[in-house]
């Protein structure tokens, strides 16, 4: 430790990022009560981050389900337990794949557009204009998107899961000939509402907050240039994906 040479420290930078994000979270939370008067704006944002993400979420859910059905049927048939395809698919989806994959897709679809939108608002002085019209951008722009993410993510993850179950059912039952009753009765026998379905719902709620928090933070603090916006958009995907997976691990390890 004799050299006081400043070198780029990945850990230090990450910590600083997390700290700045934490402070931003506090100011978002402080703005939430004030944002309630812009309820219509929150509704509009649920449309943009939620309804507009439906196509990608449904398509990917279906394909994930198809793949899971194929893979698990093949693997489980080695143990003579193809009856458990439904169970394994459902548990894997509810507990992990649904919340995590939806969050990653959500970061790519909704997170980037939130960052780009807020970044451009910054670059074109729209945020300053709101300040000048005595409208707090934290309450009018940031908080509604944050709330919309929290509302939309669990719903998106549920839709994703439903489509994936449908896909797995199509493969296992319709194509590969597993008995329909076996598929469902094994699933209903083993899957629990609270430990499986609701766990996934809590996770995806948290992930929705994480992704929109990162996205709004990156947009809000972006350098007001086209380059800055492009860079911020990339960082939204990278940071929110890493944060999502890290928090997923923590939640799985300590809370569930």
């Amino acid at each position: 430790m004799s050299e006081p040479q400043p070198r780029p420290s990945l850990i230090g930078d990450s910590l600083a990022q997390v700290g700045a994000l934490g402070l931003f979270l506090l100011s978002v939370l402080a703005a939430v009560p004030r944002s309630l008067r812009y309820f219509a704006e929150t509704v509009r944002q649920v449309f943009f981050v939620g309804a507009m993400s439906l196509v990608i979420i449904m398509t990917c859910g279906l394909f994930i389900g198809l793949v899971l059905g194929l893979q698990l049927y093949e693997v489980l048939s080695r143990f003579g337990s193809t009856a458990s395809v439904g169970t394994v698919v459902a548990i894997a989806l509810y507990r992990e794949l649904g919340p995590v994959v939806t969050a990653l897709l959500f970061a790519g679809r909704a997170g980037t557009s939130i960052t780009a939108e807020i970044g451009l608002m910054r670059a074109t002085d729209q945020l300053a204009a709101m300040e000048m019209m005595a409208v707090d951008p934290m309450a009018y722009v940031v908080a509604p998107r944050f709330l919309a993410g929290i509302v939309a993510m669990p719903l998106l993850a549920s839709i994703f899961n439903a489509l994936a179950i449908f896909g797995a059912h199509t493969v296992a039952v319709t194509w590969l000939g597993l008995d329909n009753g076996t598929f469902w009765s094994n699933m209903t026998g083993a899957v629990d509402v609270w430990t499986d379905v609701m766990n996934g719902v809590w996770k995806s709620t948290v992930f929705g907050g994480v992704v929109t928090l990162v996205a709004t933070y990156q947009g809000y603090t972006t350098a007001p240039t086209s380059e800055g916006v492009a860079y911020a958009t990339t960082r939204t995907v990278v940071s929110s994906s890493i944060l999502t997976l890290a928090i997923d691990f923590l939640m799985t390890a300590f809370l569930m």
Binding site: Q126, A134, V135
Partner: protein
């Protein structure tokens, strides 16, 4: 809030000893400035002198390093967020680049300040917004999106938005840029009319001396972080100081450097060896 408030002078805005540094650059170094009530005051100066920064100080978007800024009798440094917002509700601000909200129509942009601060019936909102759009000649464009407007049209929409709540202070940051002569004439007339009929105070930042002379009661000329000259338009344009002569004569050399500080030109081009 009455028109007469507790300032001893008749200044709506009064700035004393303003000092600001942005990054490493000293923007203001002891600016003293008064904006009289009910007048049109122009702030002129070479680009990059900090005219926009001055406006950001006056509206509390940016805190100075030192000095006092009093707007309508209130020292900005003592105001919290709510206090600032209260003040800003009575200030109209026309941004240099219009800053229209891109996902609202022209009508909704102008209606935005109304909708955010009061729950008004739709009919009343139309009755307030349409006359403002008519005044800037864009009532027919009410349903267009900002992306469909030219720069000059967007400026006029932004002007309509700035005046929609009948502010006490109206701030224009370079309102004449990008306007064709007809629109320019209309906007000049509008600034005058607003000032005289509504009795509001205006601050106009601009470069165009001809245009400014037609509306302004006072001109402040900023240069090198200080007020270089101030007075009535004819007084200023007669050019009694070196600053004004250079600025209005448009000469590159003089007390205001046209060139951004740089290394020796010949050395930069590699003609001479630079001495270490």
């Amino acid at each position: 809030m009455t028109a007469v408030s507790t300032t001893s002078t008749d200044a709506l805005v009064s700035i004393r000893g303003l000092r600001t540094k942005l990054g490493d650059k000293v923007i203001f170094d002891g600016v003293e400035l008064d904006i009289p009530r009910g007048s049109v005051t122009a702030v002129m100066g070479p680009s990059g002198t900090g005219k926009t920064t001055l406006l950001r100080h006056i509206t509390g978007q940016l805190r100075p390093d030192a000095g006092s800024i009093v707007v309508d009798g209130r020292e900005l440094a003592t105001l919290d967020r709510d206090g600032l917002f209260d003040l800003r509700e009575r200030i109209g601000y026309l941004f240099q680049n219009s800053a229209l909200l891109t996902d609202f129509t022209v009508f909704e942009n102008v209606a935005f300040p109304l909708r955010q601060h009061a729950r008004l019936p739709e009919e009343l909102i139309r009755n307030i917004v349409l006359p403002k759009l008519q005044a800037v000649g864009l009532r027919g464009a009410a349903e267009l999106m900002p992306a469909e407007l030219s720069g000059g049209m967007a400026r006029r929409v932004a002007l309509a938005r700035a005046i929609v709540r009948d502010p006490m202070l109206l701030i224009y940051d370079e309102p004449f840029v990008g306007l064709d002569p007809i629109a320019l004439n209309q906007v000049l007339k509008l600034i005058r009319t607003l000032n005289h009929t509504l009795g509001l105070t205006s601050i106009v930042v601009a470069h165009e001396l001809a245009a400014v002379s037609r509306v302004a009661d006072h001109i402040y000329l900023l240069a090198a972080g200080k007020v270089a000259a101030h007075g009535a338009p004819d007084q200023i344009s007669r050019g009694e100081t070196e600053w004004t002569r250079q600025f209005f004569g448009g000469e590159a050399d003089g007390p205001v450097p046209f060139h951004y500080p740089a290394r020796d030109y010949a050395a930069d081009l590699g003609f001479t060896q630079e001495r270490a």
